[in-house]
Symmetry: C2
């Protein structure tokens, strides 16, 4: 165990540790890099005039992405929020249902639930994965659910608990075995929010391939980007067809007739964004290797510093290390704000985890279990500069 000392220059030592890796120039939290065929594909896309909702890059991106993740179908859409919205709808989430999501996640997870007219039900997170605390959740569900006709009913609200949405925090896979087990025992549809975890795997299988249907993101701050973008992932042919249909205004195929058989969405990823995505996806293995190298560099820099720990991928997992993360020990939690202030003052972009969604006014009436783990983590997590180009000595 590291020696614990409450050194008043602790924040300065954190700045020094980060600078050992990123140097003295300003470093943003995460920036994209374009080192492959981005220009060539964008030009080809423009020259073809197919820049919009159909085109060869959309087709290619669908195929390449599905192959990479190891699912049968990938449906590119405008962003990860849209992907999760449709994934939840197709998972059968209905107005008035409850959906279990971590309190420690980006607001989009809860918003996608709200777009379905459903209610986010906040669950706790744990230290090993930064994801849902499966053990505590099982005990909680045993105490608050009644099973009626095979459906879990919240015995406090009377509402159906329809689905569970783990989010793989900063790219680290949640406890998927435990989640699959809960999903089965309580008949909850598993929908992965894999917005942050493209390239991460759990026991050799990619995140996003465990849920009945899952969502990922290619926002500008993610490991690879399409400008704005996301994708729905599934192995289920019927759900895949429905996802394509729902995201393309639910228009029935016809050369000229306009017949729409559902209230659909205009969520398709434009071909020009998919062109960028195709080039970026080709570079994903290289970026993952750079991000892993950056992990080792940070590990060395933080190893001798007491009171703080660089977050390491969970056992049996391979993380994409999307956002590198240091976690303060309880003894040093009081330094969080000072560290954020000092690092940002020195041009080192850092940020805490999100404010717990259960604390936002908009979700103040949502049900929740005890969030002791998530609360503690949210007072101790700091993300540090994580761009793949920051790693040195790798290509």
């Amino acid at each position: 165990m590291k020696e614990i000392k409450t050194d008043s220059d602790f924040p300065g030592q954190v700045v020094s540790a980060i600078r050992k890796v990123v140097g003295t120039k300003p470093a943003v939290l995460h920036e994209p890099s374009f080192e492959g065929k981005e220009w060539a594909y964008l030009k080809e896309c423009l020259d073809s005039t197919y820049v919009s909702s159909v085109g060869k890059f959309v087709d290619k991106f669908e195929t390449s992405l599905a192959e990479y993740v190891g699912v049968k179908y990938a449906i590119p859409v405008v962003n990860g929020t849209a992907a999760l919205h449709i994934a939840l709808k197709l998972a059968g989430v209905k107005p008035g249902d409850e959906v279990l999501i971590p309190a420690l996640t980006f607001v989009a997870t809860a918003n996608a639930v709200a777009y379905c007219g459903a209610i986010p039900h906040f669950v706790d997170s744990e230290e090993i994965t930064l994801g849902i605390d499966v053990k505590k959740l099982r005990d909680y569900l045993i105490s608050i659910t009644d099973m009626r006709s095979g459906i879990s009913i919240n015995n406090k609200t009377g509402r159906v608990i329809r689905a569970i949405v783990p989010m793989h925090t900063f790219g680290h896979p949640s406890d998927l075995d435990g989640l699959l087990s809960i999903s089965k025992d309580f008949n909850l549809v598993l929908v992965e929010d894999a917005a942050e975890s493209l390239g991460s795997s759990y026991k050799g299988r990619h995140t996003g391939s465990f849920g009945l249907i899952s969502a990922t993101s290619f926002n500008g701050n993610k490991t690879i980007t399409t400008g704005g973008g996301g994708a729905i992932l599934t192995n289920d042919e019927i759900l895949a067809k429905q996802a394509k249909h729902l995201t393309t205004t639910a228009k029935r195929p016809h050369l000229w007739e306009y017949d729409h058989d559902e209230i659909g969405y205009n969520y398709r990823m434009p071909n020009i964004n998919a062109a960028l995505g195709c080039a970026q996806l080709e570079q994903l293995p290289q970026k993952l290797s750079q991000k892993r190298e950056l992990y080792f560099q940070y590990f060395k820099a933080f190893d001798s510093l007491p009171g703080i720990k660089l977050f390491q991928e969970p056992a049996n997992c391979e993380s994409n290390y999307w956002l590198h993360t240091v976690v303060l020990e309880e003894t040093h939690a009081q330094y969080l704000k000072t560290i954020l202030e000092q690092t940002n003052r020195f041009g080192i972009s850092t940020r805490p985890s999100w404010k717990l969604l259960s604390e936002l006014t908009i979700y103040q009436n949502s049900p929740r279990m005890s969030l002791i783990g998530a609360t503690s983590l949210s007072n101790r997590i700091i993300n540090i500069p994580s761009s793949s180009r920051l790693s040195r000595g790798t290509k």
Copy 2:
């Protein structure tokens, strides 16, 4: 009046008339063209690494677009549907409200209403503008509304009628004086669906600048394109700020804290799409001039053909002529399907107007007035190839 003859080769004559203008090669309905700085701006965007939700092209597109339309604020978003969704929310449309929209429009107009939890209330269209029949609508509203505390209540459903959404069909401005008058007399918020009418003006003012808040689109099939994209337009500073806030996940500004004070949306237009938009907007005057030239060419080709009329911009309006349109006379309505079949068989992309939204199963329970005008139009309208590059003799 033209001589009316029911010539069995009438469809063949229509094919010939279109071919006089577009030639014998296949012609799609509408394709984008990139003849300006598209490639330069895309490359600059990529080189800057700012491809996502912020960047100089988003800022420039906001300013240039607002200036072009003559509104104080333009907020670029992922598409026209998203723009209309947020415009309606900010217009005060609440779950359970009714919103007046034409039955003769693309499904997105109704879907945006449905996303607000509101109910589309279908109104009739007329021959002069292809937009809302203002005279008939006034009589209808007098008969079905009660004014209570200054709010129009549908006396059949008991629901509030909150807003009216004219759609400027194929780019032709609706009767905006009449609509403003109805908006005032019945206290209905005017929200323009200007998805098709960028570049069109009514009595010298651009469409999209009459509503309290309006929406436009830059989909690939529109006069100018951003791949996928749209924008919210308004002169109201508070609404503009709310629109920006709501479309960027409703996050309160802070360097690192995540506080979201509303259920927001991830609707921002990425910088890379805005880069395309900046280049396209610079070419809009040229494209409008080419589309007008194409109108004159079609006019000559169809002038001598009885039973069919090329649609002409309404009086006091300047249309963008987004989609050129022929309207069959009642005597020739029976040829609609054959003309669609023959033209498409010859590689000439044509399409009818949309199926009336009131006829879609998803909206079968929505209230509606008599739709005699819209029904007749929907049986007689054919859009013909309209790409700006089809015009000859212009630059």
